[in-house]
Symmetry: C2
Subunit: 138 residues, 2 copies
DNA sequence: TTCCTTGCAAACGCTTTGCAGGAAG
DNA sequence: CTTCCTGCAAAGCGTTTGCAAGGAA
């Protein structure tokens, strides 16, 4: 409560009920990757009367403020996760839809190298591995 | 003409005018990455009376047939390119929107390694580097 | 003749926006 | 009290689909 209030003030957003509740949802244990609709449904389940449009607006503001990171994985819906500061890429289990995070300094390094080799500076990147549990053939 | 006809027959699609023209557009010199709308506009410019819905349908069929590969880069529109057999990833110049292709055996290898380390088999992946010309600060 | 394919317009799914009332500072 | 925020409904955008007419094999 205190923490969320400070976080919102820090990024210059008014401390409103919808923003507090949405921020809290992302800070719950075990919550990692949520679509706008996931957030909306969680709010409904908690008897909150917050519109889907507001969820989108708040998530967009959170993204601009660096509170949250947005990912455009395959399949329409964008996914959001709290920005905990440490960069990582994602692996998606195509059977279960589960999202696994990973970090590879080696790949990060190679990316910069490749960009440089072509006369560019790496600004950002998107890497997603689509995987299947070992042994469960297609 | 002959070539396209064979290609369509090979994948079991009837040889129709829209399919021929769309395939030809992708085989033009210098053409690499096109959105459905890019294709549609090129057809219009050539006085072809082919609907946008048909372009989408044909591209979807081409993708299923392995004639074309679809990419979901940032920003709404999907991008298609001819599948020339050799896998590669993409680098996007965020200033000009230019798309550059590259291959890194090293990164490919690391991806398999990372998936394996987590008990998975790599089925597919998506890697896009967002870059800016060296020396042109943000 | 028999499917497959096409163009059109309508429908779709996700996201954004205009507006008027309501809350935060 | 002023400005920002919200819910609602409508609009937007890229893509898909139902339908009846038209074309390939």
């Amino acid at each position: 409560m205190e923490q969320e209030t400070r976080e919102l003030r820090r990024v210059g957003l008014k401390v409103t009920h919808p923003r507090m509740r949405i921020l809290q949802i992302f800070e719950e244990e075990g919550v990692q990757h949520l679509t706008a609709e996931d957030v909306y449904k969680k709010l409904l389940a908690e008897q909150e009367d917050i519109g889907l449009a507001t969820v989108y607006r708040v998530l967009t503001q959170f993204e601009a403020a660096g509170i949250v990171v947005k990912h455009n994985f395959e399949g329409g819906q964008a996914v959001y996760e709290l920005d905990r500061g440490k960069h990582h890429d994602h692996m998606i289990d195509v059977d279960s839809g589960k999202v696994i995070e990973f970090v590879s300094e080696e790949i990060e390094r190679l990316q910069h190298e490749i960009a440089a080799r072509h006369g560019y500076v790496l600004e950002d990147h998107s890497l997603v591995l689509y995987v299947r549990p070992k042994g469960k053939g297609r």
